[in-house]
C-alpha cells in the first residue's frame, strides 16, 4: 500500500478543487451545535477532521432515509418503471468503525438478492477514511472491529500527524484517482510511527466478546432477566436503530402526487424497536413486549450478524448509547447490567 504525505492546507485546497469541479458531491464532517454530522461541503474550510462521532452514520448516503424504488401511474400496473438514483459522492473523514459498518451493509445488500439501489450508490462513492483524533466516552470500537477490515471499503485513509500534516494511505485505484493533481509527497515515515499515529486515541471501555464467542454467549442468555429489566425503560423510540451504522431495516410505502396522475413506491428507514414493526394481519404483534424488541436488536448485533458474516454486528461506535434518552441502549450497558444482575 502506497503511503503519502500532504499538508492539511494542501489537502483542503484539493478538496476545494473537487468542489469547484462539481463532478462529484464532496461530503464531510461538519459541526452541528455541540455535535457533528456528515454534510455536503460548500467549501473545504467547513470540513472538520477532528470530531468525536457524527449523530447519524454515513449509511444515510447509501440507504437514504427516503428512496424511490419504483414509479408508476396509480392503479395502472403496466406503468411500473424502476428508479435508481445515484450520484458521484466522496465521503471525507469516515472513522474505521463506520467503514466496517459500510462493509457489513455492502454484504447484506449484495449477497443473496443483489439490491442495485444500494449497490449503485456504493459503486459511485469514494470513501476517505480517517483515524479518530478525539475520544468519545461511549466508543468501544477497538474491541469490536478487525483493524484490517476498514481497508476492505476505504479508498484512502487519512492519518492526522499533527495540526498541519496528514499521512495518506492509498488503498484503491479510486483513491489514487481522487488524489490526481494533489500536492502529495512520498512518505518517509516508519511503520512504527504510523501505527502510533493511527492509535492516538484509546477507548475507555472494551466489549469482552468477539464474533467467534459472542453468538453462543448471548444465545445462552436468551431468557436472561436483563432484557425485561432494560426493556421496561425503553420508549420504543427507535433512536438506537436509526443512529446505528449497521441497522438497515426499512419500510416501503406507496405515495402519489396530488393530481393522482403519478406515484412512487418509496423506501423509508424503519426499525425493530418501533412497536408496530412486527405487526401482522389480524393485528397480531410478534414482538409485543418492549423487552423482546430490545433483545431482538441486541441479538442482531451480537448473534445474527456475527453468525452470518463472522463480523460483529456492532462496531462499537457508541451512538446508540448517546442517543438513548432512557440510557439503556448501549451494548456495554447490556453487558454491565447482566453482570450486576448475576
Amino acid at each position: 500500500m502506497e503511503i503519502l504525505k500532504i499538508s492539511l492546507s494542501d489537502f483542503l485546497a484539493h478538496v476545494n478543487k473537487k468542489i469547484q469541479a462539481g463532478d462529484s458531491k464532496q461530503v464531510g464532517v461538519v459541526p452541528k451545535g455541540s455535535h457533528f454530522v456528515f454534510g455536503e461541503l460548500d467549501e473545504a474550510a467547513q470540513l472538520c477532521l477532528d470530531y468525536d462521532v457524527t449523530i447519524l452514520p454515513p449509511k444515510k448516503y447509501f440507504q437514504p432515509q427516503r428512496e424511490v424504488l419504483v414509479k408508476y401511474a396509480p392503479k395502472d400496473a403496466s406503468s411500473y418503471a424502476m428508479v435508481n438514483d445515484c450520484e458521484n459522492l466522496t465521503l471525507i473523514g469516515v472513522h474505521p468503525y463506520d467503514l466496517v459498518a459500510i462493509h457489513l451493509m455492502d454484504r447484506a445488500f449484495s449477497e443473496g438478492e443483489r439490491d442495485e439501489n444500494y449497490m449503485a450508490k456504493r459503486d459511485c462513492s469514494v470513501l476517505i477514511g480517517l483515524y479518530p483524533t478525539r475520544g468519545f466516552e461511549h466508543r468501544f470500537s477497538a474491541s469490536m472491529i478487525d483493524p484490517q477490515m476498514p481497508y476492505k471499503v476505504a479508498d484512502l485513509m487519512l492519518i492526522k500527524l499533527d495540526d498541519n500534516q496528514l499521512a495518506l494511505e492509498v488503498v484503491s485505484k479510486k483513491g489514487k484517482a481522487y488524489l490526481e493533481g494533489a500536492a502529495v509527497a512520498k512518505s518517509d515515515l516508519s511503520e512504527a510511527f504510523l501505527a502510533q499515529a493511527r492509535n492516538k486515541v484509546k477507548d475507555s471501555q472494551a466489549f469482552p466478546l468477539g464474533p467467534d464467542k459472542s453468538p453462543a454467549y448471548f444465545k445462552e442468555k436468551y431468557e436472561h432477566p436483563v432484557w425485561e429489566k432494560l426493556g421496561e425503560k425503553c420508549y420504543s423510540c427507535g433512536s438506537c436503530v436509526f443512529v446505528c451504522p449497521t441497522c438497515y431495516c426499512f419500510d416501503v410505502r406507496d405515495e402519489v402526487e396530488l393530481s393522482l396522475a403519478s406515484g412512487e413506491r418509496v423506501r423509508y428507514w424503519d426499525g425493530c424497536m418501533i412497536e408496530s414493526f412486527a405487526i401482522c394481519a389480524g393485528d397480531h404483534n410478534f414482538r409485543k413486549e418492549r423487552g423482546a424488541r430490545f433483545r431482538h436488536r441486541v441479538f442482531r448485533k451480537t448473534v445474527t450478524l456475527p453468525e452470518k458474516y463472522q463480523v460483529m454486528g456492532c462496531v462499537g461506535c457508541g451512538r446508540c448509547a448517546q442517543a438513548c434518552t432512557a440510557d439503556i441502549a448501549g451494548p456495554m450497558k447490556v453487558i454491565k447490567t447482566m453482570k450486576e444482575m448475576n
Binding site: 455541540s34 427507535g238 393522482l260 412497536e275
Partner: protein
C-alpha cells in the same frame, strides 16, 4: 369513493390555526379542489350543503349548543375527521378543566360579571367525547403535509394511518442535537410523531402537541423527569399542556 367526495369544514372553540394551515397550502389548494368538492367552509365561502362525504371538525366543545350542532353534522357526514389538537383531545382548551369549578374560571376572566347566564361554559370536551370520530389528525397546529396526504389517501380509497411512534424517530431522522444533550426536558420520547420533530428541529423541546403514542412508556418518562428534579405536579403540568392522555399525567 369514485365521484369527488363532498367535503365540508367546521370549527368550534379553537384558534382557527388549523384551518389556516389549509389556507397555507397555497397552490396545492387548487390541487385539492381537483380531488374533492368543497361544499361548506364558512371562513372562505358562503354556502351550505345538506350532507357530506367527509366532514372535517376543528375545535373543542365547551357548550351544550355546540354539542347539538356537532351531533347534527355527525348525522349528515359519512366520514367525520377530528383535525387539530383541540378537536382530538380538547387541546389547550382543556387547561381550563384543571380548575375544579367552572364558576372559578368564569370569575378569573369576567370578575363580578361572571355569573351572567350567557357565559355558561362546561369542562372542555374533545370531538370524540361527543360523537363518533372516524379519523384523527392531531397537532397544534396540524401538519399541512399530513393533511394533504390524508386527503389523498381518502380519495384513493386507502385507510389513512397516522404515525404511532415517538417524535424521537423523526428527530433522529432530522439529525438534531437532542434537547437532553442541551440539558433540557423534552417530551419527544412519548409524544406522537407526524410533525417532523418540528420543535426540536428548531432548537426547542417537544411539548407533545400531537398527544402521546398509543402505548407511551409513562413510567420511564416519569423516571427521567424525576431525574431533572421535577415534582409530580410539575411533571403533570409539563405533560398536559395539550391535553394528552390523562393517564400519562398521573
Amino acid at each position: 369513493m369514485s365521484a369527488k367526495p363532498k367535503v365540508a369544514f367546521f370549527d368550534f372553540a379553537c384558534c382557527e390555526g388549523c384551518q389556516l394551515q389549509i389556507a397555507n397550502l397555497e397552490e396545492d389548494i387548487l390541487g385539492l379542489l381537483g380531488l374533492v368538492d368543497l361544499v361548506e367552509f364558512r371562513e372562505v365561502m358562503t354556502g351550505t350543503a345538506p350532507e357530506y362525504d367527509i366532514a372535517f371538525i376543528e375545535g373543542s366543545i365547551t357548550r351544550k349548543a355546540d354539542e347539538e350542532r356537532l351531533k347534527d353534522i355527525r348525522n349528515r357526514a359519512k366520514i367525520l375527521v377530528a383535525y387539530g389538537q383541540c378537536a382530538v383531545t380538547g387541546g389547550i382548551n382543556k387547561l381550563k378543566n384543571l380548575h375544579s369549578d367552572m364558576m372559578e374560571v368564569r370569575k378569573i376572566v369576567y370578575k363580578d360579571k361572571a355569573a351572567m347566564e350567557h357565559l355558561d361554559t362546561y369542562p372542555t370536551r374533545a370531538v370524540g367525547d361527543v360523537v363518533k370520530v372516524d379519523l384523527i389528525i392531531p397537532g397544534c397546529p396540524i401538519n399541512k403535509d399530513e393533511f394533504v396526504s390524508i386527503v389523498k389517501q381518502l380519495a384513493l380509497g386507502k385507510i389513512p394511518r397516522i404515525p404511532d411512534y415517538p417524535v424521537c424517530v423523526e428527530c433522529k431522522l432530522k439529525e438534531n442535537v437532542c434537547r437532553y444533550d442541551e440539558g433540557e426536558i423534552c417530551l419527544g420520547p412519548i409524544a406522537r410523531a407526524g410533525c417532523g420533530a418540528i420543535c426540536p428541529s428548531n432548537g426547542v423541546a417537544c411539548d407533545a402537541c400531537r398527544g402521546t403514542v398509543s402505548n407511551p412508556n409513562k413510567q420511564a418518562m416519569h423516571e427521567v423527569l424525576a431525574k431533572y428534579n421535577l415534582t409530580v405536579d410539575e411533571i403533570i403540568g409539563k405533560i398536559n399542556i395539550f391535553a394528552v392522555d390523562p393517564e400519562v399525567s398521573k
